[in-house]
Amino acid sequence: MKIKTIKIAHLYYDLMNLYGETGNIKALKIFIERQGIEPEIHFLTIGDDIDFKAYDFYYIGAGSENNQKLVLDDLMKYKNDIKAAIEDGKMFLATGNTMDLFGKKIKLKNGEVIPCLEVFDYQAVEQEKRLVSEIRYKFDDLLEGKGRDILGFKNCSCNILHNKYRMFGFPNNIKYNNFYGMDFVGPVLIRNPYFTDMLLKILFESKKLKYKEDDSSIEYKAYHEYLKMFNTDI
């Protein structure tokens, strides 16, 4: 029997890579390989023709404010395709300030308003002071000790307002169909291996593939050790 592959698009890999975002693509590769499947990973950016029907998983990471605007200009030409893909249940992971782009608009400190993709009704509002912090969220879709604590680092300039589809109970994170947006920068899928399992399980099942969970590898150990420190004095 021919084994189906999983097609992953790392979008704007050369613009939206603030700190360690490539870790997320490495995580997807290894986690999928553990299921006996070799994923197909495509690195796409400005100038490439991005097909929003062809891939199973779309990832966009965090970037600088200038790069975020360059990416927005490029994404605008796919506005309808993106909306249709999200409505159709395609899996997206948008981390850091990429989430800003899927709302109605970004309001800058200087009063300027930048129209965005309008997939969602929320808006991003630039804050006087940058939002930098180590964060632990609680995610009710996962069990205690099995990923309910979501660990990460936030480093962005905007807050999200009027988000109807909150994830982790906070407006800066969104879950809608299979679109997941979170304010963390960096390798969230490495830091949160149970969350990665959850996403891939949904994806595999949608393709009628089995996904076997096994938390014996090093990422899970790192997660639990870090959590222990977070619970004490980090």
């Binding site: 600088s64 200038n66 940058r130 180590e134 960096g186």
Partner: protein
């Protein structure tokens, strides 16, 4: 009033010296803090020498200032410089006031040479005092406070005016944006293609990939490391260009390179020694130092690098490579150095805290470091220390390092005995300088124990 402030600063410095132990390491910072509390513009009232030179950037500023100060001294000039390492506002205030005549208000120097933290240049001097500012590079460094390279660059540019002569490393396309922003004089330096050049980016951190002018993707003919290299825009005229001071013929085995076709020595056989030696040369040339004095300082009275000091354990050489957390290029330098060493090798790395300046422990930067360079059959073991050892081990697992080479050290005080017992070859530590201090202390304890036995 200025006279009183200078007197107060000198008095406080003497007091700090005497009671130093009581107030910790604040000896060079505390007097400046007190003075700035009373009058933050006290440095505006002084008389400065012809050259007041600042050196800033994400990395290499300390090494550049050390080398440039050495050249100035060799040329017989009196140089006031921050060799104590304090590069923030209060430290610089202490330094300058302590070297100023109380009555004439004249800074007693031919040259003031300052390593400056990129966030604290703004408002330190009045317009026109800082004559030159050299910027080494702007790279990923301490994201919790520096955010990202573009923010650092904008901060530096908003801190200076057109009266300052900028000296920039043109290999860095972020810095090369000064061409559009700075109306004052700009002097460029850079390193040309050499045998250590890469044709593909050797790190994951691809900053400044696009043209700042027309937003087309920049084309690199070669990379040195990170986003430093030789680049041009395929659509417009933005390019690295030919710098006024260019280094060629880099040879790390012999520790030599050429600047504008003349041969010079490096005091350390690592790539970035070429950058800081070149930058120091440029500073000296632009400050009018005679060339024969510069040549003598670099080639004959070459300063001994601190880091070249070696330790041993059971006849095995230990080299301590300072590697700054949250700075992927600092780690890359250490990894490249280890890779280029011959024979069996053992590596020690890890950290107890990501930063000593703030409590955040962001680990994202580990994924920007090219740890794949440790895939070297001559590496016998890698000892992982500190409380984030499992996160580092995860990164190394993803770099395909065989797990039987990794040793996780639960109790730091055991590390040297474990290294002694379970590994072979020369030992390379690649940790932050506070962890280096801990390792040195533990090494001494192990060696003392051995003597007793």
């Amino acid at each position: 009033m200025t006279t009183i402030y200078i007197f107060l600063c000198k008095t406080l410095t003497i007091a700090c010296h005497i009671f130093g132990k009581l107030i910790g390491k604040q000896g060079t910072v505390f007097p400046g803090r007190v003075i700035n509390h009373f009058n933050s513009r006290v440095l505006y009232k002084l008389k400065y020498p012809k050259y007041v030179i600042g050196v800033t950037g994400s990395s290499g500023k300390g090494s550049t200032v050390n080398m440039a100060a050495h050249i100035f001294k060799e040329a017989g000039l009196k140089v006031v410089w921050n060799n104590s390492g304090s590069n923030v506002r209060n430290g610089l205030t202490t330094l300058i006031l302590n070297n100023t005549n109380m009555f004439t208000k004249k800074v007693k120097a031919d040259v003031v040479l300052l390593e400056m933290d990129e966030r604290y240049i703004d408002g330190l001097f009045k317009s026109g005092t800082l004559t030159h500012l050299l910027i080494t590079n702007v790279t990923r460094d301490q994201p919790a406070r520096n955010i990202h390279p573009e923010v650092i660059f904008e901060k530096i540019m908003s801190s200076i005016d057109d009266k300052v002569t900028l000296i920039i490393n043109a290999d860095d396309p972020i810095l090369n944006r000064v061409k559009f922003l700075h109306k004052g004089q700009i002097i460029c330096y850079g390193i040309s293609k050499n045998k250590y050049s890469f044709t593909d980016t050797p790190s994951y951190a691809v900053d400044a990939a696009y043209c700042p002018k027309c937003h087309a993707k920049l084309k690199y003919t070669i990379y040195h490391y990170g986003h430093l290299g030789i680049y041009s825009c395929p659509k417009c005229d933005f390019e690295r260009g030919k710098p006024k001071y260019e280094a060629t013929d880099l040879d790390l085995n012999n520790g030599t390179f050429k600047i504008n076709k003349e041969k010079y020595k490096l005091n350390k056989n690592v790539f970035f020694a070429a950058y800081y030696t070149l930058a120091a040369y440029v500073i000296a040339m632009e400050a009018g130092v005679k060339k024969d004095a510069i040549d003598r300082a670099i080639n004959i009275d070459t300063p001994v690098s601190k880091r070249m000091k070696e330790y041993t354990l059971d006849g095995r050489t230990i080299e301590m490579l300072e590697s700054k957390n949250e700075n992927s290029l600092s780690y890359l330098q250490s990894l490249n150095y280890i890779k280029n060493q011959m024979g069996k090798k053992t590596v020690i790395m890890g950290f107890e805290n990501v930063s000593r300046r703030y409590k955040f422990n962001d680990l994202s930067w580990l994924w920007d470091v090219n740890f794949e360079l440790l895939n070297d059959e001559n590496i016998d073991k890698i000892f992982l220390i500190g409380r984030f050892k499992y996160d580092v081990a995860t990164r190394l697992f993803y770099a395909n390092i065989p797990s039987d080479k990794l040793v996780l050290v639960d109790n730091l005080s055991d590390v040297w005995n474990m290294v002694k017992k379970d590994s072979q070859g020369n030992i390379y530590t690649m940790v932050c300088f506070d962890m280096t201090a801990v390792l040195k202390k533990l090494l001494k304890e192990v060696q003392d124990e051995n003597k007793d036995n």
